[in-house]
Subunit: 225 residues, 2 copies
């Protein structure tokens, strides 16, 4: 007699993994690389994208996650990219993160087959977005120097599960008490060896490096055309 | 025949309300006023408390909420106040907010009968903390000018449910593109007439006003001694 044993999925995170895998399969079918882009509120994600996606040598689309409103999507639409806004406020008071199912609900509105790279700008939050995979290839997080040196220690999962940390607003360093070495020491404690870049969305410093990084990720899935 | 109809509590938020009411009853019994103190990560809550609680004319205690670590509690303990650290990382990957039950679990460690004011420093997050009442008298939120003018529109529930908005880091205004009038216009759109103060945790500007505000709140429940 042949027996099959199925482990029952235990909770919401298991369901999320199932759907993230389905998203992943769709991305693979269309050869799209996907970046999950995360930070605290006001760390500068959208302004960094405005700069880095301008002149990017890849066909890129954006999925914008916000509790409410479409200001960021409107800004990025000005770059003449396909942008889809996903609002989470149908949850109780507003969900504080994107999960795989929310992302899945938006995929039909994106021209995946015509993209090399999809950037998913998550809800501004350093906790829950890190807990929900959405089918991405890589995670990039932005930590602004205005937020202080202690953030890796206070939000370790976020810093531990990303492939790249952008340290933003370095144009303000001279006006702050921020100790960069101390931040990097804390970062190394929670995620040894993780790649990081010093950037300023305002001045443009370091943004070329981030653009190159995105192009390398996008190149993982060469354009079908 | 006498019939009693009981409406069944529907979800986690109903259970939270039940426990928040129990906390409220305990606070009333001991004549403690309670402030729920909220912001995005790195907005400057702890530094503002260090300044405002120094010289405060009331017996104050602090409940520190963090996903992980006790750095902020350690800082505030230096003020010789009763401080209890509450870590939320026993949840999956870490809970992104305090709820009434978490606060309740810490009350036994606080000398409530000897306090006029309890400040609950919530987890750094602009979404979920606003959804969970913990039994507080008032909510204060901090929005740093480094976070941009659009935050009231993107996180409306947080701005709508607080009694006081501290606009922090105004010492940096001259180095930013932040348009204060535009921020206040957005704030008024989501919470007409809400009290606000311009403050700098770094320079101390405006902190006296916040200290006075806390003393007024604490005065609602006169010291039993």
């Amino acid at each position: 007699m042949h027996r099959t044993k199925v482990k029952v999925a235990e909770d919401a995170l298991d369901a999320n993994t199932t759907i993230a895998n389905a998203n992943r399969a769709d991305f693979d079918r269309d050869e799209v690389s996907v970046v999950n882009f995360m930070s605290a509120p006001g760390a500068g994600k959208t302004t960094l994208l405005e700069r880095a996606l301008t002149g990017l040598e890849a066909r890129v689309g954006v999925l914008e996650g916000d509790v409410q409103g479409s200001a960021d999507a409107d800004r990025l639409s000005a770059l003449h990219l396909p942008v889809v806004q996903l609002n989470t406020d149908s949850g109780f008071g507003g969900e504080c993160h994107l999960d795989a199912n929310m992302v899945r609900s938006a995929l039909a509105d994106l021209p995946l087959a015509d993209l090399d790279l999809l950037v998913i700008e998550n809800v501004g939050n350093l906790v829950c977005p890190a807990e929900f995979k959405v089918g991405e290839d890589a995670r990039v997080m932005v930590s602004a120097v205005t937020e202080g040196e202690d953030k890796p220690l206070k939000y370790p999962l976020m810093f531990r599960t990303c492939e790249l940390v952008l340290i933003n607003k370095v144009d303000l360093l001279e006006h702050l008490d921020f100790d960069l070495d101390r931040f990097l020491y804390h970062l190394d404690a929670v995620h040894p060896g993780v790649e990081h870049m010093l950037v300023s969305a305002k001045s443009g410093e370091g943004v070329d490096g981030f653009r190159d990084w995105l192009e390398r990720i996008a190149g993982r899935a060469p354009a079908a055309a």
